[in-house]
Symmetry: C2
Subunit: 267 residues, 2 copies
């Protein structure tokens, strides 16, 4: 198979990464994708750094053997802790969801004070904080982990009163700060955006990584002359390491996909 | 090593099973235990039956090779879906946390209407419902899954107002029923007992499996002549498949253990 005709690999701890896949498909409609959701280890957000690196390496090995020309780590926790290990092992372009959001946020922020919300492992890794400081040492970062967001989203309870109270509980960190830009540092969180918006000052801009990541992926493929050379001829493939009850429901909500074939594989 | 001098294996998806270990240590102070918390796959409650069976088989193999004379499946989800597979593979006594609670509940209930709360996989497995009906076909069972309880407990947010609202949300199932006995069908839930109690009619008796399981384990070892024949000479051992940030905190809260050595092992 010529390099250009290969797939693009996309992986996440579970199904949140489908928000990124959706943006990628919109940006690159002719390309074919292989999605891997590591639902057997879901959630990554409270696992140790070492474990998330080990899971990510296994997944990329699996995707690489399926013939991919590039990979997108569509999970903030894995992007925060495993990217370097993945890039040092494989020579294909490996994109992540953190860098694109950071660039959007830094471009937008006038107060130079940027908020980030994410899982516990993402926030504790200090990746967002370090990367932003490296680009501009004057940037102030206010970070907050929100470990209950993923379970509430996975349970589809986003519209309950207590979900609103939980959002309020975590977001009070940003009261009385100069934050004018908030990065949703987890691919699940766009599904919670309407409630997050309600609990923030109106002037705060919300940055979600899906669209920015898709744009960066498109530029990267072009620069590496890896864009598909012929019309799309491969079907998308979907793999999960466990098939939870909620899978079909979430695939429908996230991607409007009703009849996709999901392959269950234990790595 | 003589059979009597071997350890007792105890496993759970994570740390909730430490509530059972605590009761076992109180009931059998001379025995030594090997605890395995499958924190790498935590939580089991939203994983598929097939995956929970596969994880449980791997853990029991690991414990068996460490020389155990009996095993306690200290996880309701694994007890609900994996017990038969485990018992058909190994000839040592394998106890679970469901049968002891069921016997306590049936003995107590006067209305013959028993409530059960647990994870999604436990409740969907219908194990509690089927087992109780097999003992007494007149028993009515009212079951409710509470998928947000484990994440809230693991985050230590049990005393927040929204935690109270979430308990109220799930327990309204038991309003206007004849339920006079409620089984806590998850080894995490005893840590939530004070709030669960507040949200139930005062006459409802709460059954938690830890004590009943420890009593049954003691009887089982005696009947099989497996009780320790000499004074305790082996130290307890603790293994986890991932070491989350919260581990030491939870071990301290659950077992008052400050300086235990935790071994990290990937199965």
């Amino acid at each position: 198979m010529s390099e250009n005709n290969k797939h693009i690999g996309v992986f996440d701890s579970g199904l949140g990464g489908l928000t990124v896949l959706k943006a990628l498909q919109k940006q690159l409609p002719d390309e074919s994708f292989i999605y891997f959701g590591d639902t057997g280890h879901l959630p990554y957000g409270n696992k140790s750094k070492e474990s998330v690196v080990a899971y990510s390496m296994k997944i990329l090995k699996f995707l690489y053997e399926k013939q991919i020309k590039a990979a997108v780590v569509a999970c903030n926790t894995a992007s925060a802790v495993a990217l370097q290990a993945l890039q040092s092992e494989y020579s294909i372009p490996i994109l992540n969801v953190i860098d694109p959001s950071i660039h959007s946020a830094i471009n937008y922020s006038k107060s130079q004070t940027i908020g980030v919300i994410g899982t516990e492992t993402t926030i504790l890794s200090n990746t967002y904080q370090t990367k932003m400081k490296n680009i501009n040492p004057n940037i102030k970062v206010v970070a907050q982990s929100c470990p209950l967001f993923v379970p509430i989203i996975e349970e589809g309870l986003m519209n309950k009163k207590f979900a609103h109270d939980i959002v309020q509980f975590y977001l009070k960190t940003f009261q009385d700060t100069e934050v004018d830009t908030l990065i949703l540092g987890c691919t699940h969180y766009p599904l919670f955006k309407h409630i997050i918006k309600k609990n923030l000052h109106k002037h705060i801009k919300i940055i979600d990584s899906a669209k920015a990541t898709a744009q960066q992926a498109s530029e990267c493929l072009e620069n590496n002359q890896l864009l598909l050379s012929t019309k799309k001829n491969l079907k998308n493939q979907y793999y999960v390491s466990d098939k939870p009850h909620a899978f079909n429901h979430l695939a429908k909500v996230l991607l409007n996909l009703n009849n996709i074939q999901i392959n269950h594989i234990c790595l």
